[in-house]
């Protein structure tokens, strides 16, 4: 089993690479690389099936973007009119917005490329989700963040099981005869799935509580509050900085220092808080060559695509080129993306366990959420 952090670094590299380009060929290559690695290295655990769900979500987003691009003619100028839809007369107030009219190939391509970019990001996140056991990842989180940990474990267990449960419930619903479709069908699946998931999560929380999760040593309240706010502040800052850097809304000169400061704050807070936790680690996940290779391959993809974007903006950003043409491909960027497929061979193969259906017995009463009191 690879260190889950390595998978997330690798995926982060792919995400960064995807944000640097709208070249459809490169983006498709990234999705293919993610799929390849998932196929080669995923385990038999339930969440390893979530990759397909992420891909499906990406595909839906692409379609939605295309439909919107066809309906709402936006600012992309284009000469190649494919089809002309009847135009909707809108009041003066919303001048500038046109509904209907000529649908140009340029507008559709623009939407397609942007949609693909989103899909590539989702594929990378989905791959990390499928490859890295979220519970193992949580084990590597500093012991200080245990309150957050409780919430995360419950959420992470809840999410992938929902997919499994939904499949099971949909099958069961067929036993009632006419399989319901549309909204009713969704509601009929959702109700038992959510109910079951909630009961499971409550059971899990009860089990964790009984096993000593979140036992803390006596620490002054002020110390605890200080460390918690440091961590929170640092995390928020890091997210803003990353968002700004990736979205390109902020210059690297402002974004990088912000990132550095926030990360330092978060780490300092975590270290401070960590002093109160007496938690020890049983055989911590080692960080070996395979982990280095995996993380590095992600970094190479990000840096390679980024550098290519700086050197040859035209090839990596074909949207800017108005005359319709097949997108050119930058050999350097493509090579960098292909490097990210390295974990297929460079990491140890997953243990071959025989997957059996996870059985869940009857639900106990979904416990009341408020804490109990003594008379």
């Amino acid at each position: 089993m690879l260190h889950p952090g390595a998978w997330w670094l690798w995926a982060l590299g792919l995400v960064v690479a995807a944000t640097r380009t709208t070249n459809p060929l490169l983006l498709l290559a990234m999705i293919a690389v993610a799929a390849l690695v998932v196929a080669a290295r995923r385990t038999a655990s339930p969440w390893s099936r979530s990759f397909v769900a992420f891909l499906a979500l990406g595909a839906v987003l692409v379609v939605v973007r295309l439909v919107f691009a066809a309906l709402f003619v936006d600012a992309v100028p284009g000469a190649t009119v494919l089809v002309t839809l009847p135009e909707l007369a809108l009041p003066e107030v919303v001048a500038g917005l046109r509904v209907g009219g000529g649908v140009t190939a340029e507008a559709l391509l623009f939407a397609l490329y942007q949609g693909l970019q989103l899909m590539a990001v989702l594929a990378a996140v989905g791959a990390a989700n499928a490859l890295a056991d979220p519970r193992r990842l949580l084990r590597t989180v500093p012991g200080a963040l245990y309150e957050v940990g409780v919430a995360l474990v419950v959420a992470l267990t809840y999410a992938p099981r929902l997919v499994e449960d939904a499949v099971r419930v949909r099958r069961a619903q067929r036993l009632r005869g006419r399989p319901p479709r549309g909204l009713t069908g969704v509601a009929r699946t959702a109700v038992p799935v959510l109910e079951g998931g909630l009961a499971t999560s409550i059971d899990l929380a009860a089990a964790m509580d009984s096993r000593g999760f979140a036992r803390a040593a006596a620490v002054p309240v002020r110390w605890r509050r200080l460390s918690a706010s440091l961590v929170l502040l640092g995390l928020v800052g890091t997210i803003i900085a990353l968002f700004a850097l990736l979205g390109g809304g902020l210059l690297p000169t402002a974004g990088l220092p912000l990132l550095a400061i926030s990360t330092t704050l978060a780490i300092a807070g975590a270290l401070m808080a960590g002093r109160r936790s007496r938690r020890t680690r049983y055989r911590p996940d080692p960080w070996r060559v395979a982990e280095w290779v995996t993380a590095a391959s992600g970094v190479v993809a990000a840096v390679g695509v980024g550098a290519a974007a700086a050197l040859d903006p035209g090839a990596l950003d074909p949207v800017g080129i108005l005359p319709l043409a097949a997108p050119a491909i930058s050999a350097m960027a493509l090579a960098a993306v292909l490097v990210a497929a390295l974990p297929c061979v460079a990491t140890p193969p997953p243990p071959s366990g025989v997957p059996t259906s996870t059985s869940r017995p009857q639900q106990s009463r979904a416990g009341a959420s408020e804490a109990g009191v003594y008379a």
Binding site: M1, T43, A44, S45, P46, D133, R135, R136, R139, R171, A172, R174, L175, R176, G177, R178, P179, P180, A187, V191, P192, E195, G196, T200, D203, L204, A206, A207, M208, D209, S210, R211, G212, F213, A214, R215, R278, R279, T280, R281, Y282, R283, P351, G353, V354, P355, T356, S359, R360, P361, Q362, S364, G367, A368, S369, E370, A371, G372, Y374, A375
Partner: protein, 543 residues
Amino acid sequence: MIRFDDVSVTYPGADSPALRNVHLALDEGEMGLVVGPTGAGKSTLLRAVNGLVPHFSGGTLAGSVTVDGRSTREHRPRDLADTVGVVLQDPTSGFVADVVEDELAFGMEWLGLAPPVMRRRVEETLDLLGLTELRSRTLATLSGGQRQRVAIGAALTVHPRVLVLDEPTSALDPQGAEDVLAALQRLVHDLGLTVLVAEHRLERVVQYADRVIELTGDGTVREGTPADVMAHCPIAPPVVELARLAGWSPVPLSVRDARRRAAGLRRELEPQMDGHATADTAEASAAGAAGPVAVADDLRLRYGAVTALRGVSLRLHRHEIVALMGRNGAGKSSLLACLAGLTRPATGRLSVGGLDPRRADPADLVQAVGLVPQQPGDLLYATSVAEECRTADEDGGRAVGSTHAVLERLAPDVPLDRHPRDLSEGQRLMLALAIVLAAQPQLLLLDEPTRGLDYQAKHRLVGVLRRLAAAGHSVVLATHDVELVAESSHRVAILADGELVADGPVAGVLASSPAFAPQVAKVMAPQPWLTVDDVARALGRAG
């Protein structure tokens, strides 16, 4: 070690307390068994031991609960984690790691034990519970019995003085249950652990218990030695019922004790054996005479790398109840799913009521075959029983009220205005059964119907199934419950590793197998009686 002083628990919004003035004392090294009907407060009692009730569940607790001198009033469940190990009803939903070893270490990590100590204790626990080969396996790939042992092991690594288990064997096949109980026996005898366990399947545990705590249903408890409580407890394993029938006192609790007493009874019934055998074969041939309702020929099914069925052939007839048995993961559920058209077997011939489940329209298929899934709740989604019945009628395009009429026949006591989630396990099963039966399928399949059912609910289920078979249905139930099979079924089919290894009349198949023989059969061997009712009838004939 465990002390309850005048404990009452009331949940918010409940009319009456779940536990009422409970006094209880369990000494070190004792094994206490909690018995009682569903909803009598077994889980509440167990969860009160480490303070999950009321710290986690909500509600009000009056009186005091102390464990090893520590009161749950001052100590939260997490603070008691080094004293009390808890294994909740469903081990799967309590797992936090994905590999056996990590799961075992989880509790110790939070107690802050030094890494070398953790390493040693994990090794010890692996040995103690026979988990050594599974140490690096993913939890999701384990069988039910293995999971249960891992959950027990995870509770044990912190070296608790008290272990609390909620229905540790109810989802397990007989062999898995034996493994778990043997492990518990060892813990009590070798380590002096105090164990408190709740279980519906009394036949499996009562002989190991030192004290029995009986929840009477109104929140109060009766406590005593197993023999005393079992002498008049309404919930009793077959061996105790046999003792009551034969008038043995004190009541034997194990097959061994009962067998010693049964010599006289066996002599008395000796002349009845021939008559019984002929009646049995007559019944079987009557069932076979009418043509089969469903035919499966050489079914093969694979899920990815796993082969679920390898060439299963089975014929199902009207008026017949067939029990499908076998280990967890032997292919029982897969076979039922094939018959119900939920899964398509790779090869083989399949015909149910003249339809091919692989190709038939689901709306037609439900009129030929009905399946009650392992979790009946999967079928339900409405907010009240009445609404559930109404939508079932709409789904099937049937006259309004037909599902309700079926439910009325099966279980008139199910309250119509109740939310399905708030029904007892038995009532929920009856509701799902009514929905499936409303389409009037000839073939009725039930997947593990007795999970979480107490003896009363089980008796009712047996009555319902027998009535359905008499009315011409063909019934198949996949189950681990040998006592249920002995009481209800005509024929047993045993699956092992996707193959049918036995298929024949109940008496022949069950009595000859040490793992599957019901208690009465073990006591009365070599005579062919399987249930207390059999013996009672034979006694009636004898005079």
